[in-house]
């Protein structure tokens, strides 16, 4: 089976985020990027399928700070090829990136056709769409999101897939291959890869680099950010006082105000 995993780098929210002086974007002073958590799950899901059914895993990501380490780490975990897409606007949104990728993938030798394209079902910075359905539509492939389990049947060219609903309920779907799946979680957490193995991969393996053709470089932005700001934050709990009965009443008021009652 051939599986493509699309990864992207998103702001690491462990660090304090600040607004840049333009008031519309994130300050890059202390900004660190981390691989989108759901994309890491997508990679794990792909590796699990490869372990079960054989085949290859190709990882693709747009150029961004720290993505090289992520791509080498993917190779160290067992991916077969890692492709870095270069060029394009610095502030590419989910939509722009997905549409560009859909145009680019068919031009890279040995990538398409693939049996599965996996990517995270969501990302922290998805302003104007989610990568998975955008890719699926652009490539005219069947799609399902919020996937937490994939049982591939390569011979029958289909996969039985579980999608997450609330309250622990899952929906079981049958997806014909090839298809795009938006991954919520893999069956196991993303595997650990020892630092030494990543270092070894950095020395012994190569990343492929594919440039976005100049003609495609500028993508219109459909959604414009007028202002970026912090939502109101709370420093300390607002303390409530009173007898148990009074407190119960106050708590219920608060819950009702939030649509929880």
């Amino acid at each position: 089976m051939k599986i493509i995993v699309v990864l992207k780098m998103v702001p690491d929210v462990v660090e304090e985020l600040e607004v840049a002086s333009d008031g519309k974007s994130l300050s890059t002073d202390f900004l660190r990027l981390i691989v989108n958590e759901r994309d890491a799950h997508a990679l794990e899901a792909a590796l699990l399928i490869k372990e079960r059914h054989g085949g290859s895993v190709i990882v693709v990501g747009h150029e961004a700070p720290e993505i090289e380490e992520v791509l080498f780490s993917a190779l160290a975990k067992g991916a077969d090829r890692a492709i870095k897409v270069t060029g394009g606007a610095a502030e590419m949104t989910a939509r722009g990136a997905a549409l560009l990728l859909a145009k680019l993938l068919p031009t890279i030798p040995g990538v398409l056709p693939a049996d599965l394209i996996l990517t995270g079902c969501q990302a922290l910075d998805d302003l104007d769409g989610q990568t998975a359905p955008l890719l699926a539509c652009a490539l005219n492939l069947p799609y399902l999101g919020l996937v937490s389990r994939i049982e591939a049947d390569p011979a029958a060219q289909k996969a039985t897939v579980a999608k997450e609903y609330a309250g622990g309920v899952h929906g079981e779907f049958e997806v014909p291959l090839p298809a795009v799946l938006g991954i919520q979680g893999a069956e196991k957490p993303p595997r650990y890869v020892p630092v030494a193995k990543v270092r070894a991969a950095t020395k012994s393996q190569k990343l492929e680099s594919v440039a976005i053709p100049a003609a495609e470089e500028s993508m219109p932005t459909h959604v414009e950010v007028l202002q970026l700001s912090k939502p109101e934050s709370t420093g300390h709990a607002e303390m409530l006082e009173g007898t148990p009965e009074e407190l119960a009443g106050k708590v219920c008021e608060i819950l009702a105000g939030r649509g929880l009652l």
Partner: protein
């Protein structure tokens, strides 16, 4: 071109969800602000009976077809997109829940219309719609604008009170039998979780207990409250370690990371290992006898009180209010 504001009604297993009413409340504000109609789009099979509840809208566009019986996003998106092209609404509010997740993305892609994701609010500003998006795990919000023309807004749960979207009025219902494309992705069945096997990461409400619970016998106090609020009981490490709750209920570093709409921290001190598993909860209410408990630094509301005294009283009050609402 109707230029109406549309709300995609969300229903699951035969029931309209609260989110639908939240969106109707929001949609009504926007429609009134623009001086246009508010229409609800109800797509499914044998769903016409649900239309009567959508009185907050001026009109319900009911797409009725056996092919829409199953939760197949591609099929639904396609049907709604066809209607969109025919009616040309001004904007569409799509809920962002597990049920409708796929719908918004596909729908927008099929129409090549801007999709404003992760909205915690939408406003009318100078005759245009501005969506406010919550980004980076809720750490930032972006006020956005779209180019002239229609736009689709993916709306997060909780933007408005569902109450405000429940209007006891009978809307005009327009029934349509859409052309429905064959499904590529086929729905097999729902798989319910094993009895007693609750996934706390999927709960909207968590009643979390810590050492302050004092004994296993008191777990039922928390369970009663959880049941009244439609949630589940979770616990911090010492509670799980002592076997008062199964491992699957553990929140925190060695347990699950949860982000429910409501996290009631009862008798939990708020140690870092615990907090890291729940600090992104939308509303945190903490009850602890220790005024210095670190939980109060991250909770939104708190009270210094013995949970064993407060919780039974709180449960009663919750039940009383819910009964009053239904009546």
């Amino acid at each position: 071109m109707t230029g109406a504001i549309w709300v995609l009604a969300e229903h699951w297993k035969g029931e309209l969800s609260d989110t639908t009413f939240e969106l109707l409340a929001l949609g009504r504000e926007l429609a009134d602000g623009l001086g246009v109609a508010l229409e609800a789009v109800l797509a499914g099979h044998e769903v016409k009976r649900l239309a009567a509840h959508l009185g907050a809208a001026d009109r319900v566009l009911c797409l009725e077809h056996p092919g829409l019986a199953e939760p197949n996003a591609e099929v639904h998106a396609n049907a709604v997109a066809a209607l969109f092209r025919a009616r040309q609404p001004r904007a569409v509010l799509v809920p962002l829940t597990n049920i409708t997740w796929d719908l918004g993305g596909l729908f927008a892609s099929q129409l090549s219309v801007p999709f404003v994701n992760s909205c915690c609010g939408v406003r009318v500003v100078d005759g245009a719609l501005q969506g406010t998006c919550l980004l980076y795990g809720g750490k930032m919000q972006a006020t956005t604008a779209t180019a002239e023309g229609p736009a689709i807004f993916g709306i997060l749960p909780g933007t408005r009170q569902a109450e405000k979207g429940r209007v006891a009025k009978s809307p005009e219902v327009e029934e349509m039998a859409p052309a429905v494309i064959p499904a590529r992705v086929r729905f097999n069945k729902y798989i319910e979780p094993e009895a007693g096997d609750v996934d706390i990461t999927q709960q909207n409400v968590l009643v979390a207990v810590g050492r302050g619970l004092q004994s296993q016998g008191n777990v039922e106090i928390a369970e009663a409250l959880a049941a009244a609020l439609g949630g589940a009981v979770s616990g911090s490490r010492p509670v799980i370690d002592q076997g008062w709750l199964p491992q699957s209920r553990q929140v925190g570093k060695s347990g699950a990371t949860v982000k429910p709409r409501l996290y009631l921290a009862l008798g939990i001190s708020g140690a870092p290992e615990h907090v890291e598993g729940m600090r992104d909860s939308e509303l945190i209410v903490a009850i602890n006898t220790d005024p210095q408990a670190p939980i109060f630094n991250i909770a939104h509301y708190g009270a210094v009180q013995d949970l064993l005294e407060l919780v039974p009283v709180l449960t009663e009050e919750v039940k009383k209010r819910q009964a009053a609402r239904v009546a």
